[in-house]
């Protein structure tokens, strides 16, 4: 299978050389291929969020190589990194991270605006994404006027609006009740079946069990990396 993401002996060290130095990632090597559904699971402080930041080009590793679709990410300029975040990766966050002053539609349109897509096409693409998450009737609302589950669906619509090959979800169900959380996970499964590579970060073993592959992190090191039967809770 085609390698999509490749971490080679990656370190992320805060306060290096000091007595208080923290190794958020401590020599991590990981390869993820196109079309996989991977759960990165670990306790709080295990380095899983740092891993997502590095994988998502939001943060730069202290040492080690990161290849995304064969490109060495450490060589890229801010402009090129912005382009990757915009076109290659769709982010879903625990706290939704919607812009409160913009309407639902405007939030979903935002990544398309940064792509420079014209207003008509942009609107069509955003509406299509909102339809997929079942929110096409509430496009003029502000995020604050919606429930947590709805806000997360807006965030998902924003993530898929650019049709990125990779979706990165950081505790996407963390702020939701179990039923809504279940819907979100099912939606991620659906995206994966359509060919999108999904990387799911979670502390919850039950949620990790919904992924075909599970990577377990402890103290910045990978302690387990296994294929598993998908188990729905």
């Amino acid at each position: 299978m085609e390698k999509l993401v490749e971490l080679k002996d990656v370190f992320k060290i805060y306060g290096e050389g000091l007595e208080s130095e923290v190794r958020a990632l401590d020599g991590v090597s990981l390869t993820i291929c196109r079309g996989e559904f991977v759960a990165v699971v670990g306790q709080s402080g295990s380095g899983k969020s740092t891993m997502m930041n590095v994988l998502g080009c939001l943060d730069i590793p202290t040492r080690g190589d990161y290849f995304l679709e064969g490109t060495d990410v450490r060589e890229l300029t801010d402009k090129e990194l912005s382009r990757i975040r915009n076109k290659e990766i769709g982010f879903i966050f625990q706290q939704y991270n919607l812009i409160q002053t913009l309407t639902v539609l405007e939030n979903v349109e935002l990544p398309l605006i940064y792509q420079g897509i014209n207003a008509d096409d942009r609107r069509d693409m955003a509406l299509e994404a909102l339809e997929r998450v079942g929110l096409s009737s509430r496009i003029k609302h502000k995020p604050t006027e919606m429930s947590g589950g709805q806000q997360q669906r807006v965030a998902i619509a924003r993530a898929i609006a650019t049709r990125p090959p990779i979706i990165m979800a950081d505790e996407p169900t963390g702020a939701l009740d179990s039923r809504t959380g279940h819907e979100v996970l099912e939606f991620l499964q659906q995206l994966n079946r359509e060919g999108t590579t999904v990387i799911l970060i979670t502390h919850d073993n039950g949620i990790a069990a919904t992924a075909r592959r599970c990577v377990r992190l402890t103290d910045g090191k990978i302690v387990e990396d296994k294929e598993q039967e998908v188990d729905w809770f």
Binding site: R85, P111, I113, Y114
Partner: protein, 424 residues
């Protein structure tokens, strides 16, 4: 991201916090309003003065010839000793017709003119200013002694009848020509030519009326066309001192220096330096001086206003910095979904520029009102701000936004996406 989108975003963000936006703009509003009021009022005043100067004719040279020695005449009045220099100056000036338009005495005298019920003494008594400083009643005309070249020297054209002639001068004719405003005051719409009026109880015949030189007849100093001119030689019957002030008008501005030097040479030979003296000076020096003074006052006031604009700009920078801090998370989100540094800089710069631009527009509206009000209060005329001043004020406010928006905008763009996302 295109610019139109950036403008839309900036507008949204400003509109979302209207109250704060107004407070932030206040400094710019006050600054722009005061700059516009001051610059417009002063330049408007200077323009009006200039217009008046120009209507009275340009290229004027003032000639002054005076005596130190006074003698007692047969009536017991002390009068300057020495002869009347005008005929000599007249013929000298007319000997250089290629350079000179004309020459005339430039002396006004106090008189009482009566025609029917119209009486200048009565007019003088009734004329006053109301508490707003507006003139009430009719201003009495000024009386001048002139040569037959008074008209050409004053840029005056005959509307009715005729101008003063050399014969009037030579024969001491008791005739007069009226300025347009004086004619209107005394005769209304009737034709004054041929009418006889009393001037200091002496009969004078009106022989002509000059055309009006200025549209706006009610400026602060009264109309420049509110005058009566009589041949200077009738001083023999009206009485008074020999004329000492004359006006020579040059054909071209470039010739003025030449005329001044020739007149200096001529008067040196004519005037006895032991009992008198003379000076020759282009009148536009007075105009230059006025412009200089106005420019200086305007400069100082505009400087003060510029400082207030600076303070306003710093206020904008301050608020933009607060905005950046408040919106750190938003910046993080935007960066995470693909905004480049340059997009973030553009967004905040446009927001600052727009904030200042809107403030500038409000300031311009207030400044226009202020300028009209100040013109009415100080100079008793309505001054409208000129287009360049208005455009300049707007440009300046946007420029201030860009200058003071730079630092916060760059600061916003320097945030690491991952750190910005962590902000609350």
């Amino acid at each position: 991201m295109n610019i139109r989108q950036a403008f839309k975003m900036a507008w949204k963000s400003i509109w979302g916090k209207k109250g704060r936006a107004i407070l932030t703009m206040l400094g710019i509003i006050i600054g722009i309003a005061s700059v516009m009021t001051i610059v417009s009022a002063i330049s408007g005043y200077a323009d009006k003065m200039m217009e008046q100067f120009e209507a009275m004719g340009t290229n004027r040279i003032a000639v002054e010839v005076y005596n130190y020695v006074y003698v007692e005449d047969e009536n017991g009045n002390w009068v300057p000793q020495g002869k009347d220099y005008f005929p000599d100056i007249y013929s000298y000036c007319n000997s250089m017709k290629e350079l000179v338009v004309g020459v005339t005495p430039n002396a006004y005298f106090s008189g009482t003119m009566v025609y029917g019920t119209k009486n200048t003494d009565k007019m003088r008594e009734d004329f006053h200013y109301d508490e707003m400083g507006n003139p009430v009643g009719e201003r009495p005309p000024s009386f001048y002694y002139g040569s037959d070249q008074y008209g050409v020297c004053g840029n005056l054209k005959i509307l009715r009848g005729r101008d003063l002639t050399q014969l009037d001068i030579k024969n001491y004719n008791q005739v007069m020509v009226l300025g347009a405003q004086a004619a209107k005051a005394f005769f209304g719409t009737a034709n004054p030519v041929g009418k006889t009026v009393q001037l200091n109880s002496i009969k004078f015949e009106v022989v002509g009326v000059y055309a009006s030189r200025m549209e706006d007849e009610n400026s602060m100093m009264g109309s420049i066309d509110n005058f009566v001119v009589v041949p200077y030689t009738v001083k023999r019957v009206l009485g008074g001192e020999t004329d000492s002030s004359f006006t020579v008008v040059a054909k071209n501005m470039e010739d003025m220096e030449e005329i001044v030097s020739r007149l200096n040479g001529f008067l040196k030979g004519l005037v006895d330096q032991n009992t008198g003296g003379f000076y020759v000076q282009p009148e536009n020096q007075g105009m230059d001086y006025m412009n200089q003074t106005l420019g200086m006052i305007g400069g100082v006031l505009a400087g003060v206003a510029a400082i207030s604009l600076m303070v306003g700009g710093i206020g904008i920078m301050n608020i933009m910095l607060v905005t950046v801090t408040e919106r750190t998370r938003e910046i993080g989100i935007r960066r995470a979904i693909g905004a480049q540094r340059s997009s973030i800089v553009t967004q905040f710069l446009i927001e600052a520029a727009m904030l200042c631009g809107i403030g500038g527009l409000i300031g311009m509206a207030l400044g226009t009102g202020g300028c009209m009000l100040l013109g009415n209060l100080l100079f008793n005329m309505t001054i409208y701000p000129s287009a360049p001043v208005t455009a300049g004020a707007f440009g300046l406010s946007v420029l201030l936004g860009i200058i003071f928006g730079c630092y916060p905008a760059v600061k916003a763009s320097k945030l690491q996406p991952v750190e910005a996302l962590r902000a609350e």
